[in-house]
Symmetry: C2
Subunit: 213 residues, 2 copies
Amino acid sequence: MSTTRILIADPLEILAAGLRSWLSEAPEMEVVGHAGTGQAVLERLEEGPVDLILMEVSLPGRDGIDTMREVRRHHPAVKVLAYSALTEIEYVNSMLIEGASGYLVKGSSKEELITAIRAVMNDQPYLSPAARESTLHGYDHTQKRMDGEYIGLTEREREIIRLVAQERTNDEIAKALFISVDTVKTHRKHLMTKLNVRSLAGLVKYARDRCWI
Amino acid sequence: MSTTRILIADPLEILAAGLRSWLSEAPEMEVVGHAGTGQAVLERLEEGPVDLILMEVSLPGRDGIDTMREVRRHHPAVKVLAYSALTEIEYVNSMLIEGASGYLVKGSSKEELITAIRAVMNDQPYLSPAARESTLHGYDHTQKRMDGEYIGLTEREREIIRLVAQERTNDEIAKALFISVDTVKTHRKHLMTKLNVRSLAGLVKYARDRCWI
DNA sequence: CCCACAATACCCACTAGAGGGTATTTTTCG
DNA sequence: CGAAAAATACCCTCTAGTGGGTATTGTGGG
């Protein structure tokens, strides 16, 4: 069996140290790098071979979901195992739809981590219990759409959600972007529909999770 | 010099592994435990001596700020170094007011971590640059009160902020708690004044940071 | 025993946001 | 080129939230 070269994509370098320590008992695995941002992930992939990325969803700048898409496009052979504390259905779905081979919940034990990596390297998808639970019952209690259709936000919508999450009023946003208040309202309506939330609170949580604020 | 016994209070066990790995080059430091919740911190302190706690602000259940207060009350000799990715002035202030000896920003290098622990153990407060920046200029751009007065929230106010952050309307909250809508509005007013935010968005962010939702 | 505080509840006024449309222009992409 | 998507902007209505008061009751601490 050849060595599995692992890149950890997480804002915290100390997490890479923890991972190295944990994987020391899995001789066929080697941590070959750490990237603190989505951009750094893409740059690292150009520099040398990587077999698997442990990818946090919440990355500053280009987040894990966006990075996932880029990795799929430019490096289809690299496997990605999502690795985040977030277990909400929208993030699990988004990562899987973008091509992740599994979703490991942060806080998993050393044993589960190693099991997950081995599974993914053997082309078997791996989902942590909490992530599996989300894909099965994530919509039960929340009136959310069951279809799980992944709907991306446009660039303009991302700008708007960032601003509303920063406590800006529609009026302030309109002035800042040189557009009409009505247009801002339209974008908000689209955002709330796409993300299936009831109010501003849902938008704020989503933006926070994706490190947009 | 005697050994510094360190307890790491953080939801992620792998962080404790990373810390152990990093501190292996500081021979006088020893990681003697890991606690994933505020409750676990207090229980661990009853079981054996600890010199310093590396305390995350965002802990599930009883968060770092509340735990800090309990540690001060029952174990005044134990030093606490706050350790979080949050750099907002309210969290830095809260932890320091509750008695933390320093505030280390997650994402700091191994060297800074060791420096910070040594400083704190020598009774010198330590603040990461970003945390210091917050205490000095945290209010410059945000119209927030400069006095930095720490105002605790009451239990009822915490209930309310949890619910508003969960996308509940005032009406739903009133029905759930068997109180008048006007009372809910009053609590919201108090919350917004105390936390110095402009709208629901600010309340949601605060609740999210403190792991209340 | 008082004072401070927490929790409750109401008044008024005003604004912002939610929810339903439709429609135009521009951009993007097959 | 032509279709689809994105960004723009307006209509309407209604509810929810913000912001300023005041006031009562109960409770816990000094």
